[in-house]
């Protein structure tokens, strides 16, 4: 048992920190949740710039094989990179291309697809959106209705997607469509890639509650998707959509964000005599600090287990529930420190911590610890962690 990183890993962490200190624009706080950046032209520009710089370092493809531009590093390095990015609120990592699509391509793509798509993703030059959700499918992804009909050299796609984060910024879209209506619903789905500029694709904005534009609806009207853009074989899409791929599952990004938020809240509290002298309050902060330490360990252990090719399903669920609910507790505590001004919008000069707390407080509860989300994780824990039968 040895809870330390190797000297090389410590050095890598320092390298990431130095890079961020140098390259990240001063006072730039990238919202921990990816979308915040998408509604803002300036932020998006910075994000693209940073992506290229990170790409040049090879950090966007840390674990990939060298032949696709990767560094062939391990899970621990990926963990360190993820933690530092989250803690520093650094922009540039496209979760759709880097975190979601590239593991699918590495596992299921053919060589041509890997060679065509992975290098530009890894260089930080190609950005993606994910077309999964549909308006009538609700939480039952498998009942999606977008159709892709096989024709000579292409699939003809018609249908509608919703909740597509960043579709207005993306160069390309990966999506699921129904290619067989005669079989069980999850057996007739395929996984496609498509250039966002393809004729027949229309992206319409959905404005979120802070007035910013990150969600979209996508309409497909007779869109011709070349056959070589089908990934993993016809009617195999469900496998790719649900496979727990070998990506970074430690949840360390949440924890890094938590740590930074709490540090700022502690600093705010020290300047507030009434709160700093109130044990009810300081005890709460002390506990949150302890919980962050726990969250880090849960994350470290998962990365370590993954590096040993161990199954991490239950642990990853635990880490996710723990970290997301921890973030809500931290934000809530922060909002109490912030007082009435915490209610003001980002950008108001008097809102503490630049309004980032409020933004996080608003978006975290509904999005990451919603009734469904945390409860699905708890069910995974009950099944795979405690060995209870499926419910």
């Amino acid at each position: 048992m040895d809870f330390q990183f190797t000297p090389e890993q410590v050095k890598f962490r320092q390298e990431v920190r130095d890079f961020l200190k140098k390259e990240q624009p001063k006072d730039f706080h990238w919202p921990w949740w990816f979308e915040g950046v998408l509604g803002n032209d300036e932020m998006w520009a910075i994000s693209k710039q940073m992506a290229r710089k990170m790409g040049a370092k090879g950090w966007l493809s840390l674990t990939w094989p060298k032949e696709y531009g990767g560094l062939e590093k391990g899970h621990i390095e990926l963990l360190i990179f993820t933690e530092e990015i989250a803690y520093h609120r650094a922009p540039g990592v496209d979760i759709f291309g880097i975190k979601m699509l590239s593991p699918v391509l590495l596992a299921f793509g053919n060589d041509e697809q890997k060679k065509k798509y992975l290098p530009p993703i890894g260089r930080g030059e190609m950005f993606w959106a994910q077309g999964f959700s549909e308006p009538n499918a609700g939480s039952d992804l498998a009942s999606l209705q977008t159709r892709a009909i096989e024709q000579d050299s292409f699939y003809l796609v018609n249908g509608q997607k919703v909740w597509t984060t960043g579709a207005h910024r993306a160069d390309a879209i990966f999506f699921l469509a129904r290619t067989d209506t005669q079989v069980a619903k999850h057996k007739g789905i395929s996984f496609f890639l498509v250039d966002a500029q393809t004729p027949g694709i229309e992206v319409r904005p959905l404005i979120n509650l802070t007035g910013s534009h990150s969600f979209n609806e996508i309409f497909f009207e007779n869109v011709k998707v070349p056959k070589e853009n089908l990934v993993g074989g016809k009617n195999n899409g469900w496998l790719m959509a649900t496979a727990l791929l070998n990506f970074e599952r430690s949840g360390i990004g949440y924890v890094g964000a938590c740590r930074r938020n709490l540090e700022e809240i502690v600093a705010l509290t020290r300047n507030n005599k009434a709160l700093a002298g109130n044990p009810v309050f300081t005890h709460k902060l002390g506990e949150l600090a302890a919980e962050i330490e726990v969250g880090r360990w849960l994350g470290y252990r998962i990365a370590w287990m993954q590096s040993k090719k161990m199954n991490v399903d239950a642990q990853a669920s635990m880490a996710k529930v723990f970290a997301t609910e921890l973030m809500h507790r931290i934000d809530n505590t922060g909002m109490q420190v912030a007082g009435l001004y915490g209610q003001l919008a980002e950008g108001d000069k008097r809102v503490p911590l630049g309004g980032r707390l409020g933004e996080s407080y608003m978006s975290n509860l509904g999005r990451t610890i919603a009734a469904g989300a945390s409860e699905i994780q708890r069910n995974i824990i009950a099944q795979r962690g405690l060995g209870l039968p499926r419910d």
């Binding site: 959905l206 802070t210 009435l340 915490g342 003001l344 407080y361 608003m362």
Partner: protein, 387 residues
């Protein structure tokens, strides 16, 4: 003995409910969101004046209807459930008017009460300041007596409805800088006075309901002093509320729960209907609303019998305000991703109102540690614990 409403009271509730139903059906008003004080409908206010429901519990000698606090409680419940936009007259009728009745000069009563009762005088409350937050004892906005006027300098912040109001109730410092709560006075300020600037503030949920109000050598006639000079603390803490039941907190929770159950779960997200965890959370909220409701009813009932409630109001306030937070939290959890959409989006469930309310509820228990003070009162006056 009657552990519920009398037939007369039930009839009154029915009358109010039918009125709002019909107004809404006629398109006379659009339901306001859950932070209802932001709403504004001069037309509806006029209709309520015509019915005699503005000033319902005011004494008849000041032109009120002289009805009981229980009737007023019923009316408040129905207003909230109906989502009626009452921001035009609410602060004037419910907060400032009663303070003028209690502390105003005959001249002030004559000047201010009739237009309030007619719904023609919209008021806002200028209390919080950038440096003081909501800790009134630290207020810095200053009023010096010069040539028969108060000359006011300073800044108020987070003022709801200042952009639409005619007058403001302004708490200023007339004593020495270190006089804390002993050097405060209450002024009734015409917002058109030269030297006043009002600038909007945007809340984290994107709403525009707060304002900064700047005072730059604003001259306010001495006769606009409400109550004694340096007597503003008592007015701000004791007289700014005729009805101390906190029923509006309970009723708004009831409306939110209703919308979640009927519109959201009964409509948009049917899948949640069978989710035991969600069902139990809703049931828990229903119990808590009953709990808060009774604490409010008790206060109104005591007031209607001429008894002055003490720690009973603290109980009602603590439970009611903390319940709004819990319900907002639970509601946001249930909305999930859908809760990220703004008011007006066609996909936003419950019209996107919950998000705005979610962030505003936090304001009710923070700042000067309001809940903690109320809890002290409960432990000390209620149980005889040492100070």
């Amino acid at each position: 003995m009657d552990f519920w409403f009398s037939p007369q009271e039930d009839n009154f509730r029915q009358e109010v409910r039918s009125f709002f139903d019909e107004e809404r059906r006629n398109g006379a008003y659009q339901p306001a969101n859950y932070t209802f004080m932001e709403s504004y409908s001069p037309r509806l206010t006029r209709r309520l004046v015509d019915k005699g429901w503005v000033g319902l519990a005011w004494p008849q000698e000041y032109g009120g209807a002289g009805r009981s606090f229980v009737d007023q409680l019923i009316f408040t419940e129905e207003v909230m459930m109906a989502g009626a936009p009452v921001g035009c007259h609410w602060l004037a009728e419910r907060q400032v008017g009663p303070a003028i009745i209690a502390s105003g000069t005959p001249q002030q009563k004559q000047t201010f009460l009739p237009p309030i009762l007619k719904g023609e005088l919209t008021l806002c409350m200028c209390l919080a300041e950038p440096e003081a937050g909501s800790d009134l004892a630290c207020l810095q906005t200053q009023a010096r007596e010069v040539d028969g006027n108060f000359v006011v300098n300073g800044q108020k912040t987070l003022i709801m409805g200042a952009d639409k109001a005619h007058y403001a109730f302004v708490l200023v410092r007339t004593g020495a800088a270190d006089s804390r709560h002993k050097g405060l006075s209450a002024l009734l300020v015409d917002l058109k006075s030269p030297g006043i600037t009002i600038r909007p503030l945007f809340s984290a949920s994107g709403g525009r309901s707060f304002n900064d109000v700047f005072f730059d050598n604003v001259k306010i006639p001495l006769e606009n002093l409400l109550g004694e000079k340096n007597g503003g603390w008592m007015i701000a803490t004791q007289q700014l509320s005729l009805d101390r039941s906190s029923i509006e907190l309970v009723a708004i929770c009831e409306r939110v729960l209703h919308d979640l159950v009927v519109e959201y779960i009964g409509g948009v997200r049917e899948g949640l209907v069978g989710d035991m965890v969600v069902r139990h959370r809703l049931a828990e909220i229903a119990i808590e609303i009953e709990v808060a409701r009774w604490l409010s009813y008790r206060v109104a009932w005591m007031q209607s019998r001429g008894v002055i409630p003490e720690n009973e109001t603290s109980m009602a306030k603590v439970f009611g305000s903390e319940l709004t937070q819990r319900l907002a939290n639970e509601g946001m959890r249930m909305l999930g991703l859908l809760g990220q959409l703004c008011e007006g989006s066609k996909l936003a469930p419950v019209r996107g109102w919950l998000e705005n309310w979610y962030i505003s509820t936090l304001g009710r228990t923070i700042g000067s540690g309001t809940s903690e003070i109320q809890r002290n009162i409960m432990a000390q006056r209620g149980l005889g614990m040492p100070r």
